[in-house]
């Protein structure tokens, strides 16, 4: 069965989608990613869709699902590299990807994830301080 590879990079999981997705492939990715988040205790998931030319409502829903599920598993999700034509089409379709963090490229996406982890640390420190 065809599968999209998931790479582990420090505390993050990295997925680069290089093929045009069909529904089953997208569902398998959703499943694999959530299992990997649990197994590796990843703190962030970065999905690069720069090679994806079509994102329809199903694919959009999968991206949203991955973000929600990761969040419950204490990991942040960022989707990077969306082509301008795809962004225009998504909004016209009626899908705004609310709840999914986005960045223009992998570098900025990584930065965003690092900041998110940093933020959590400071938040917890703050909580601790106020506790004392």
């Amino acid at each position: 069965m065809e599968r999209i590879p998931i790479l582990k990079m420090g505390p993050f999981l990295l997925v680069t989608i290089q093929v045009d997705l069909y529904d089953r492939l997208a569902l398998t990715l959703e499943n694999d990613l959530i299992n990997m988040v649990s197994k590796t205790e990843a703190k962030g998931v970065l999905i690069d869709i720069s090679a994806v030319s079509i994102v329809d409502s199903f694919m959009g829903r999968i991206l949203g699902n991955i973000a929600s599920m990761s969040k419950i598993m204490d990991a942040a999700t960022v989707v990077v590299g969306m082509q301008p034509a795809v962004a225009i089409t998504l909004v016209e379709l009626g899908l705004t990807l609310a709840g999914v963090h986005t960045a223009l490229d992998v570098e900025q996406g990584m930065e965003l994830l690092r900041n998110k982890i940093g933020q959590i640390d400071t938040d917890e420190e703050g909580l601790y301080d106020s506790f004392i």
Binding site: Y22, D23, S53, I54, D56, S57, A85, I88, L93, L95
Partner: protein, 137 residues
Amino acid sequence: MIVLSKEKLSIQKEQDVVLFRNRIKELATKIGMSLVNQTKLITAASELVRNMLRYGGGGITHLEIVSKNSIPGVRLVFADEGPGIKDVTLAMKDGYSTGKSLGLGLPGAKRLVNEFDIKSEPGKGTTVTIIRWKNGL
């Protein structure tokens, strides 16, 4: 309206969708459609072909290059012999779904194309026809 080219593609399984999308891209590129217009057309087609597979049990698609007032466009027909849609007006509403989807498929697809026509008869099937013109108007 003149039909400049015509072909048929049967859609019976999910993998057929990838081939179908690629073929639309070839046709749209052939008439010089911009990338944004192409993306809108293929996304709309992707929604409709999913409906055809999920609710209609697969079907036949027609891919045509048409021309009106010397402006070319791509016309796609999705015909299935599934159970049909009971209430087409309701099915065209944003957020309505009998499945577990977001309910954006039909209304979203309509927004992404220039011409949209749906005919459905319970027990006989559904036929959706869409056109996107090269200039996007």
